[in-house]
């Protein structure tokens, strides 16, 4: 199994506002605290490379305390120059949120060239709330996503200049300098929440599929759908096309890990993902068919998720190194996920670093039968 260290870069606060997204006033953001946090978080990502993680992950979110990386490419740029081996996975850029998605093609190419070809380029639509903070029309989300992806992929693979005349994006000259180093282009990943349209789209293009913060039963179901879609498209999914993101807390013993998980992981769900209900469901963001599937089995809002339920449903992993190894076997052996994208959250920067070290020494080596395999070979492009 490959290990990618995933960071949200949260701004951890307790507040009573009805939403941690879009409307939570930025008066709560203290730039002096932000200065310390950004630098600690970047230190953690750099340390992850030293400790043996295969990849480092950043991501895009807007106007919230859950994740303070409105531009993941900025953070990736800092990591490129401070690391030398690990892949840098941008999970991802919100394609439909951009008015000029060619800028994404340019920035990823800059990062890929500078890093010597270590970039993984996630393509996402952005979560529902993002359509409120960027004012992009959610009814255009899916079409803009497909169109921007096509534009970016063509700009990386076809010799320029060429004209592009889409429904949402039009350019008389597509001719970005630089071109990416990786051929035919940096691997593309699709972090998603399991809409069947995205599963099909990703499977058709061999783009790895990443499930973020999802109960284990649903991961199993979506992986099944993805594998079937791959077969429909005439090939068998590689395990490195199936990626999972689950928060992990490891400590000397189960009791200590549980106490940490209850406090710090549950903050992500209960506070970080607290959202004014209309922000979850902007009109047209989902197809009506997807909405009907969702209504048939409505998920609980993360802010109402209790620890016992989160534990039972497999939203997180916590425990001693031995317990964490056992729980990870479910992902590696039963779900056959090839890549684990997970971050650690301790009560302090120092304790997070200690937790990372414990994981790297006591857990990771037990899953390294694929150490010589390049997980990006033949997938994502």
């Amino acid at each position: 199994m490959k290990f990618y260290y995933f960071h949200l870069m949260p701004y951890i606060i307790d507040h009573d506002a009805p939403s941690s997204w879009v409307t939570l006033s930025n008066r709560h953001y203290d730039p002096a605290v932000g200065h310390r946090l950004y630098n600690q978080y970047l230190d953690q990502l750099e340390e992850a490379e030293r400790l043996g993680w295969d990849g480092l992950c950043v991501n895009e979110h807007h106007q919230n305390c859950y994740g303070t990386m409105p531009s993941p490419n900025v953070m990736a740029a800092m990591l490129v120059r401070r690391t030398s081996r690990a892949k840098i996975a941008i999970l991802g850029n919100g394609l439909p949120l951009r008015e000029n998605p060619l800028r994404i093609a340019e920035e990823i190419a800059m990062l890929d060239v500078t890093s010597g070809g270590r970039i993984i380029s996630g393509f996402v639509r952005g979560i529902s709330a993002e359509y409120f903070s960027t004012a992009v029309n959610p009814t255009h989300s899916r079409e803009r996503f497909y169109e921007a992806a096509e534009l970016i992929l063509r700009s990386w693979t076809e010799e320029g200049p060429f004209p592009f005349d889409g429904r949402y994006y039009r350019y008389p000259y597509v001719n970005p300098w630089p071109r990416p180093l990786q051929k035919p282009h940096p691997p593309v990943w699709c972090p998603s929440q399991g809409s069947s349209e995205t599963v099909e789209w990703a499977a058709k293009r061999r783009f790895p599929y990443l499930m973020v913060f999802t109960p284990i039963k649903r991961i199993a179901q979506i992986y099944g759908e993805y594998r079937e879609a791959c077969e429909r498209n005439g090939y068998k999914a590689s395990r490195y096309q199936l990626t999972v993101n689950v928060p992990i807390v490891v400590a000397e013993n189960d009791a200590k890990a549980r106490a940490l998980a209850e406090k710090h992981v549950m903050w992500v769900f209960n506070v970080g993902l607290r959202m004014h209900p209309p922000f979850w469901r902007p009109p047209g963001y989902m197809t009506e068919a997807s909405l009907r599937r969702l209504l048939a089995n409505p998920p609980k809002p993360p802010s109402e998720l209790g620890f016992e339920e989160a534990d039972r449903e497999g939203y997180l992993i916590y425990g001693s190194p031995a317990t964490v190894r056992d729980k990870l076997r479910v992902f590696s052996d039963e779900l056959k996920a090839g890549i684990l994208c997970s971050g650690m959250t301790g009560p302090s920067h120092e304790q997070t670093l200690e937790m990372m070290q414990l994981f790297a020494e006591e857990v990771m080596p037990h899953f390294r039968d694929d150490a010589r395999i390049d997980e990006t070979a033949g997938v994502g492009r």
Binding site: F132, P138, T139, H276, P277, P278, P283, G284, L291, R292
Partner: protein, 247 residues
């Protein structure tokens, strides 16, 4: 499309949430007019129409409807979103309109007012913003909270978002085109409208549409035709009688 009454043809274009409903207002109008009350595509359970991507598509859609009904001229009454569509129609084809009644329309960019973002409101917030008398909102309440009802509401929200998410509730080109309207126009406004307040919104419409008359309804918010149906229907009747007549 719902239809009733006898007399001159009157096309009523509903606002958000009003699709597929024959309410007191239409019933009162049907005493004097042949009232045609279509549901906008995607509203009131009607099928979604993904080709609609701009408010002018809806305006053309209703000009096509007038053709299909064989109506060379009709009185046109539109409320809120329906008022916006009606105003677009009037800039395109005033010669098809015996008269135009706009009830708290949205649709133009205001100086000194930004419409509160409707799509971010939950139901209680919408009721507070739209209604002066919240009891009047009961007429628009969904029958239940079943998955089917929620899916139809989502379809309706999607239909509105396609034309009104950004710019929110207006067409940047409409305001300067209002000078083209030649149909006799009555602008009806709820004195307590919190979505589009009388000042500046109602006053701007009355100024921008050539020769428009403004009538204010003292006990209404954004939807006077639902909050004071008798008074608004009487105002419509009186105005239409002056312009083109009832029969």
């Amino acid at each position: 499309m719902l239809q009733d009454g006898t007399g001159s043809p009157l096309l009523f274009l509903h606002g958000a949430g009003g699709g597929g409903r024959w309410l007191d207002f239409q019933a009162l109008l049907a005493k004097d007019f042949t009232v045609y009350s279509p549901s906008h595509p995607g509203h009131g359970g009607s099928p979604a129409a993904e080709w609609i991507e701009h408010i002018s598509d809806l305006a053309f859609h209703y000009l096509d409807l007038l053709d299909a009904l064989g109506l060379a001229r009709a009185h046109l009454v539109g409320a809120s979103l329906g008022g916006w569509i009606a105003a677009e129609i009037a800039t395109m084809a005033s010669h098809r309109l015996a008269s135009l009644v706009l009830i708290d329309p949205v649709g133009i960019r205001m100086d000194g007012w930004i419409y509160p973002f409707l799509f971010a409101m939950d139901i209680p917030e919408i009721v507070t913003t739209v209604f002066h008398n919240p009891m009047a909102a009961l007429a628009l309440a969904p029958p239940d909270q079943s998955a089917e009802t929620l899916a139809l509401q989502y379809r309706q929200g999607t239909a509105i978002a396609r034309v009104a998410w950004n710019p929110h509730l207006y067409d940047p080109l409409l305001r300067r085109r209002l000078g083209r309207v030649t149909a006799p126009t009555l602008v009806c406004w709820g004195a307590h409208d919190k979505l589009a307040p009388l000042a500046p919104c109602g006053e701007t419409w009355a100024r921008e549409v050539p020769g428009a008359r403004l009538r204010v309804f003292a006990d209404s918010g954004h939807v006077p035709h639902l909050e004071e149906p008798d008074a608004v229907a009487a105002a419509v009747r009186e105005f239409c009688q002056l312009h083109g007549g009832l029969a």
